[in-house]
Symmetry: C2
Subunit: 145 residues, 2 copies
DNA sequence: TTACAACTTAAAGTGGACTTTAAGTCAATA
DNA sequence: TATTGACTTAAAGTCCACTTTAAGTTGTAA
Protein backbone atom coordinates (compact mmCIF):
# COMPACT_ATOMS: atom_id res chain seq x y z
CA UNK A 1 0.00 0.00 0.00
CA UNK A 2 1.25 3.56 -0.81
CA UNK A 3 2.97 5.34 2.05
CA UNK A 4 1.44 8.53 3.42
CA UNK A 5 3.09 11.46 1.69
CA UNK A 6 5.23 12.69 4.55
CA UNK A 7 5.91 16.45 4.88
CA UNK A 8 9.30 17.21 3.33
CA UNK A 9 11.94 18.90 5.45
CA UNK A 10 15.13 20.62 4.32
CA UNK A 11 18.50 21.33 5.92
CA UNK A 12 19.55 24.95 5.84
CA UNK A 13 21.57 24.74 2.63
CA UNK A 14 18.78 23.21 0.59
CA UNK A 15 16.30 25.57 2.14
CA UNK A 16 18.48 28.55 1.28
CA UNK A 17 18.61 27.40 -2.33
CA UNK A 18 14.85 27.01 -2.46
CA UNK A 19 14.22 30.57 -1.35
CA UNK A 20 17.21 32.04 -3.19
CA UNK A 21 19.14 33.15 -0.16
CA UNK A 22 22.34 31.91 1.46
CA UNK A 23 22.56 29.82 4.63
CA UNK A 24 24.18 32.70 6.56
CA UNK A 25 21.34 34.98 5.51
CA UNK A 26 18.80 32.47 6.80
CA UNK A 27 20.67 32.32 10.12
CA UNK A 28 20.77 36.10 10.17
CA UNK A 29 17.01 36.31 9.61
CA UNK A 30 16.46 33.80 12.38
CA UNK A 31 18.70 35.82 14.69
CA UNK A 32 16.48 38.81 13.93
CA UNK A 33 13.37 36.86 14.82
CA UNK A 34 11.94 36.86 11.31
CA UNK A 35 11.63 33.08 11.31
CA UNK A 36 12.17 30.18 13.68
CA UNK A 37 13.81 26.94 12.64
CA UNK A 38 13.08 23.57 14.09
CA UNK A 39 16.08 21.46 15.16
CA UNK A 40 16.84 17.77 14.80
CA UNK A 41 18.43 15.60 17.51
CA UNK A 42 21.95 16.82 16.77
CA UNK A 43 20.94 20.47 16.87
CA UNK A 44 20.79 21.10 13.15
CA UNK A 45 18.12 23.32 11.68
CA UNK A 46 15.50 21.96 9.36
CA UNK A 47 12.78 23.73 7.43
CA UNK A 48 9.39 22.81 5.97
CA UNK A 49 7.19 23.85 3.06
CA UNK A 50 5.43 26.26 5.39
CA UNK A 51 8.77 27.94 6.09
CA UNK A 52 9.34 28.35 2.37
CA UNK A 53 6.00 30.11 1.98
CA UNK A 54 6.68 32.31 4.95
CA UNK A 55 10.13 33.40 3.76
CA UNK A 56 8.81 34.08 0.28
CA UNK A 57 6.11 36.25 1.73
CA UNK A 58 8.67 38.10 3.85
CA UNK A 59 10.75 38.68 0.73
CA UNK A 60 7.75 40.16 -1.04
CA UNK A 61 7.23 42.59 1.81
CA UNK A 62 10.94 43.34 1.86
CA UNK A 63 10.79 43.92 -1.88
CA UNK A 64 8.24 46.67 -1.42
CA UNK A 65 10.71 48.59 0.74
CA UNK A 66 10.16 47.27 4.25
CA UNK A 67 13.37 47.18 6.31
CA UNK A 68 14.40 44.28 8.52
CA UNK A 69 13.14 46.38 11.42
CA UNK A 70 9.76 46.86 9.82
CA UNK A 71 9.54 43.13 9.25
CA UNK A 72 10.52 42.53 12.88
CA UNK A 73 7.70 44.77 14.01
CA UNK A 74 5.29 42.99 11.71
CA UNK A 75 6.36 39.59 13.01
CA UNK A 76 6.07 40.74 16.61
CA UNK A 77 2.54 41.96 16.06
CA UNK A 78 1.64 38.78 14.22
CA UNK A 79 2.77 36.74 17.21
CA UNK A 80 0.48 38.80 19.44
CA UNK A 81 -2.67 37.65 17.69
CA UNK A 82 -5.65 39.18 15.95
CA UNK A 83 -5.93 42.25 18.13
CA UNK A 84 -2.85 43.66 16.37
CA UNK A 85 -4.41 43.42 12.91
CA UNK A 86 -5.06 47.17 12.83
CA UNK A 87 -1.38 47.80 13.62
CA UNK A 88 -0.25 45.44 10.90
CA UNK A 89 -2.69 46.92 8.42
CA UNK A 90 -1.43 50.42 9.20
CA UNK A 91 2.17 49.31 8.75
CA UNK A 92 1.40 47.72 5.40
CA UNK A 93 -0.58 50.74 4.26
CA UNK A 94 2.29 53.05 5.17
CA UNK A 95 4.61 50.79 3.24
CA UNK A 96 2.23 50.96 0.31
CA UNK A 97 2.07 54.75 0.43
CA UNK A 98 5.86 55.09 0.63
CA UNK A 99 6.18 52.64 -2.20
CA UNK A 100 3.81 54.55 -4.47
CA UNK A 101 5.66 57.78 -3.80
CA UNK A 102 9.00 56.27 -4.77
CA UNK A 103 7.38 54.51 -7.67
CA UNK A 104 6.21 57.77 -9.18
CA UNK A 105 9.59 59.40 -8.63
CA UNK A 106 11.42 56.55 -10.24
CA UNK A 107 9.08 56.66 -13.22
CA UNK A 108 10.11 60.24 -13.81
CA UNK A 109 13.78 59.30 -13.56
CA UNK A 110 13.15 56.59 -16.14
CA UNK A 111 11.54 59.07 -18.53
CA UNK A 112 14.64 61.23 -18.41
CA UNK A 113 16.88 58.21 -18.93
CA UNK A 114 14.81 57.12 -21.93
CA UNK A 115 14.94 60.61 -23.37
CA UNK A 116 18.69 60.70 -22.98
CA UNK A 117 19.05 57.34 -24.69
CA UNK A 118 16.92 58.53 -27.59
CA UNK A 119 18.87 61.74 -27.76
CA UNK A 120 22.14 59.81 -28.03
CA UNK A 121 20.69 57.52 -30.67
CA UNK A 122 19.59 60.52 -32.66
CA UNK A 123 23.00 62.08 -32.28
CA UNK A 124 24.72 58.87 -33.25
CA UNK A 125 22.78 58.33 -36.45
CA UNK A 126 23.15 62.02 -37.23
CA UNK A 127 19.43 62.19 -37.97
CA UNK A 128 18.92 65.63 -36.49
CA UNK A 129 20.59 68.86 -35.55
CA UNK A 130 23.23 67.18 -33.46
CA UNK A 131 24.10 70.45 -31.76
CA UNK A 132 20.82 70.59 -29.88
CA UNK A 133 21.53 70.60 -26.13
CA UNK A 134 19.81 67.93 -24.10
CA UNK A 135 17.95 70.53 -22.06
CA UNK A 136 16.37 71.86 -25.26
CA UNK A 137 15.58 68.34 -26.33
CA UNK A 138 13.85 67.68 -23.01
CA UNK A 139 11.85 70.86 -23.42
CA UNK A 140 10.80 69.82 -26.88
CA UNK A 141 9.77 66.44 -25.47
CA UNK A 142 7.73 68.11 -22.76
CA UNK A 143 9.77 66.78 -19.85
CA UNK A 144 11.48 68.30 -16.86
CA UNK A 145 10.09 71.12 -14.70
CA UNK B 1 18.81 101.98 -18.02
CA UNK B 2 18.20 98.36 -16.94
CA UNK B 3 21.29 96.38 -16.03
CA UNK B 4 22.23 93.34 -18.04
CA UNK B 5 20.81 90.29 -16.30
CA UNK B 6 24.03 88.81 -14.94
CA UNK B 7 24.31 85.02 -14.57
CA UNK B 8 23.45 84.08 -11.00
CA UNK B 9 25.99 82.21 -8.94
CA UNK B 10 25.43 80.41 -5.66
CA UNK B 11 27.62 79.49 -2.71
CA UNK B 12 27.59 75.82 -1.81
CA UNK B 13 24.86 76.04 0.83
CA UNK B 14 22.38 77.79 -1.44
CA UNK B 15 23.30 75.47 -4.27
CA UNK B 16 22.77 72.43 -2.08
CA UNK B 17 19.30 73.70 -1.18
CA UNK B 18 18.46 74.27 -4.83
CA UNK B 19 19.27 70.69 -5.80
CA UNK B 20 17.99 69.17 -2.54
CA UNK B 21 21.30 67.87 -1.30
CA UNK B 22 23.56 68.92 1.56
CA UNK B 23 26.79 70.87 1.22
CA UNK B 24 28.88 67.86 2.31
CA UNK B 25 27.20 65.75 -0.33
CA UNK B 26 28.07 68.32 -3.00
CA UNK B 27 31.70 68.27 -1.81
CA UNK B 28 31.61 64.48 -1.88
CA UNK B 29 30.30 64.46 -5.44
CA UNK B 30 32.99 66.90 -6.44
CA UNK B 31 35.62 64.69 -4.77
CA UNK B 32 34.31 61.83 -6.90
CA UNK B 33 34.65 63.88 -10.04
CA UNK B 34 30.92 64.07 -10.73
CA UNK B 35 31.03 67.84 -10.92
CA UNK B 36 33.57 70.63 -10.76
CA UNK B 37 33.03 73.83 -8.84
CA UNK B 38 34.47 77.20 -9.72
CA UNK B 39 36.18 79.13 -6.91
CA UNK B 40 36.15 82.81 -5.95
CA UNK B 41 39.20 84.81 -4.83
CA UNK B 42 39.14 83.44 -1.32
CA UNK B 43 38.86 79.85 -2.45
CA UNK B 44 35.15 79.36 -1.88
CA UNK B 45 33.10 77.34 -4.30
CA UNK B 46 30.37 78.87 -6.35
CA UNK B 47 27.88 77.29 -8.73
CA UNK B 48 25.81 78.40 -11.69
CA UNK B 49 22.50 77.57 -13.29
CA UNK B 50 24.31 75.15 -15.57
CA UNK B 51 25.58 73.28 -12.49
CA UNK B 52 22.04 73.00 -11.22
CA UNK B 53 20.92 71.42 -14.47
CA UNK B 54 23.87 69.06 -14.46
CA UNK B 55 23.34 67.86 -10.90
CA UNK B 56 19.64 67.37 -11.51
CA UNK B 57 20.42 65.26 -14.51
CA UNK B 58 22.92 63.23 -12.50
CA UNK B 59 20.26 62.68 -9.86
CA UNK B 60 17.86 61.40 -12.49
CA UNK B 61 20.45 58.89 -13.64
CA UNK B 62 21.18 57.98 -10.04
CA UNK B 63 17.47 57.54 -9.46
CA UNK B 64 17.30 54.88 -12.14
CA UNK B 65 19.81 52.79 -10.23
CA UNK B 66 23.20 54.00 -11.40
CA UNK B 67 25.86 53.88 -8.67
CA UNK B 68 28.36 56.65 -8.02
CA UNK B 69 30.85 54.49 -9.90
CA UNK B 70 28.59 54.22 -12.92
CA UNK B 71 28.16 57.97 -12.89
CA UNK B 72 31.92 58.40 -12.62
CA UNK B 73 32.38 56.24 -15.69
CA UNK B 74 29.73 58.20 -17.52
CA UNK B 75 31.36 61.50 -16.62
CA UNK B 76 34.78 60.23 -17.65
CA UNK B 77 33.49 59.17 -21.03
CA UNK B 78 31.66 62.46 -21.46
CA UNK B 79 34.90 64.32 -20.87
CA UNK B 80 36.54 62.29 -23.63
CA UNK B 81 34.25 63.65 -26.32
CA UNK B 82 31.91 62.31 -28.95
CA UNK B 83 33.85 59.16 -29.76
CA UNK B 84 32.65 57.70 -26.45
CA UNK B 85 28.99 58.15 -27.27
CA UNK B 86 28.60 54.43 -28.03
CA UNK B 87 30.07 53.63 -24.60
CA UNK B 88 27.74 56.02 -22.87
CA UNK B 89 24.78 54.75 -24.81
CA UNK B 90 25.62 51.16 -23.87
CA UNK B 91 25.95 52.14 -20.20
CA UNK B 92 22.58 53.88 -20.24
CA UNK B 93 20.94 51.00 -22.06
CA UNK B 94 22.29 48.53 -19.51
CA UNK B 95 20.96 50.76 -16.78
CA UNK B 96 17.63 50.81 -18.53
CA UNK B 97 17.54 47.02 -18.84
CA UNK B 98 18.46 46.51 -15.18
CA UNK B 99 15.87 49.04 -14.22
CA UNK B 100 13.10 47.32 -16.16
CA UNK B 101 13.98 43.99 -14.60
CA UNK B 102 13.76 45.39 -11.07
CA UNK B 103 10.67 47.33 -12.01
CA UNK B 104 8.82 44.18 -12.96
CA UNK B 105 9.97 42.39 -9.83
CA UNK B 106 8.89 45.20 -7.62
CA UNK B 107 5.50 45.30 -9.31
CA UNK B 108 4.97 41.70 -8.32
CA UNK B 109 5.98 42.47 -4.74
CA UNK B 110 3.45 45.29 -4.75
CA UNK B 111 0.69 42.98 -5.92
CA UNK B 112 1.32 40.68 -3.00
CA UNK B 113 1.38 43.62 -0.60
CA UNK B 114 -1.91 44.89 -1.99
CA UNK B 115 -3.45 41.46 -1.71
CA UNK B 116 -2.35 41.17 1.90
CA UNK B 117 -3.80 44.57 2.69
CA UNK B 118 -7.11 43.59 1.16
CA UNK B 119 -7.03 40.30 2.97
CA UNK B 120 -6.57 42.10 6.31
CA UNK B 121 -9.34 44.54 5.49
CA UNK B 122 -11.64 41.68 4.70
CA UNK B 123 -10.67 39.94 7.91
CA UNK B 124 -11.13 43.11 9.90
CA UNK B 125 -14.62 43.84 8.66
CA UNK B 126 -15.49 40.18 9.03
CA UNK B 127 -16.92 40.21 5.53
CA UNK B 128 -15.67 36.75 4.62
CA UNK B 129 -14.59 33.39 5.95
CA UNK B 130 -11.97 34.87 8.22
CA UNK B 131 -10.29 31.51 8.60
CA UNK B 132 -9.11 31.47 4.99
CA UNK B 133 -5.30 31.31 4.94
CA UNK B 134 -3.53 33.98 2.96
CA UNK B 135 -2.04 31.37 0.60
CA UNK B 136 -5.55 30.25 -0.34
CA UNK B 137 -6.58 33.84 -0.77
CA UNK B 138 -3.64 34.45 -3.10
CA UNK B 139 -4.61 31.40 -5.09
CA UNK B 140 -8.15 32.60 -5.38
CA UNK B 141 -6.81 35.97 -6.55
CA UNK B 142 -4.64 34.26 -9.14
CA UNK B 143 -1.33 35.41 -7.69
CA UNK B 144 1.91 33.72 -6.70
CA UNK B 145 3.67 30.99 -8.64
C1' DT C 1 34.04 95.50 16.21
C1' DT C 2 32.21 91.74 17.70
C1' DA C 3 29.77 87.91 17.01
C1' DC C 4 28.22 84.27 14.32
C1' DA C 5 26.88 81.85 10.28
C1' DA C 6 28.91 79.89 6.31
C1' DC C 7 32.65 78.37 4.39
C1' DT C 8 37.45 75.39 4.01
C1' DT C 9 40.10 70.62 4.52
C1' DA C 10 41.20 65.79 5.80
C1' DA C 11 39.88 62.07 8.13
C1' DA C 12 37.03 59.27 10.82
C1' DG C 13 32.34 57.53 11.68
C1' DT C 14 27.57 55.67 10.43
C1' DG C 15 23.66 52.44 9.03
C1' DG C 16 21.69 48.65 7.00
C1' DA C 17 21.94 44.20 5.49
C1' DC C 18 24.34 41.08 5.10
C1' DT C 19 29.14 38.24 4.51
C1' DT C 20 33.21 36.24 6.09
C1' DT C 21 36.17 34.11 9.37
C1' DA C 22 37.54 30.95 12.85
C1' DA C 23 37.18 27.00 15.30
C1' DG C 24 34.85 23.21 15.84
C1' DT C 25 30.97 19.09 15.24
C1' DC C 26 28.40 15.83 12.47
C1' DA C 27 27.01 12.80 8.43
C1' DA C 28 27.52 10.41 4.22
C1' DT C 29 30.35 8.12 0.94
C1' DA C 30 34.64 5.56 -0.96
C1' DT D 1 37.75 4.12 8.56
C1' DA D 2 39.09 8.22 6.60
C1' DT D 3 37.98 12.09 4.28
C1' DT D 4 35.07 15.56 2.77
C1' DG D 5 31.22 18.55 2.75
C1' DA D 6 27.53 20.48 5.44
C1' DC D 7 26.50 22.00 9.48
C1' DT D 8 27.21 24.77 14.36
C1' DT D 9 28.44 29.41 16.99
C1' DA D 10 30.16 34.15 17.96
C1' DA D 11 32.35 37.82 16.34
C1' DA D 12 34.53 40.61 13.08
C1' DG D 13 34.50 42.48 8.41
C1' DT D 14 32.45 44.59 4.08
C1' DC D 15 30.14 47.77 0.96
C1' DC D 16 28.03 51.96 -0.37
C1' DA D 17 26.91 56.54 -0.06
C1' DC D 18 27.10 59.56 2.55
C1' DT D 19 27.63 62.19 7.39
C1' DT D 20 30.09 63.91 11.14
C1' DT D 21 33.98 65.78 13.43
C1' DA D 22 37.78 68.80 14.18
C1' DA D 23 40.26 72.70 13.49
C1' DG D 24 40.54 76.59 11.17
C1' DT D 25 39.20 80.87 7.80
C1' DT D 26 36.02 84.31 5.79
C1' DG D 27 31.81 87.31 5.09
C1' DT D 28 28.05 89.93 6.90
C1' DA D 29 24.92 92.14 10.01
C1' DA D 30 24.12 94.68 14.44
Amino acid sequence: MPALKTESSYPIGKFADLVDLTAPTIRYYESQGLLKARRNDSGRRYFTEADIKWVKFLLHLKGTGMSINDLKQYVTWRAMGDETIPNRLALLENTQADFMKKYREVQHHLEILNDKINWYKQKETGKTDSQEPFADYLNRMGHEE
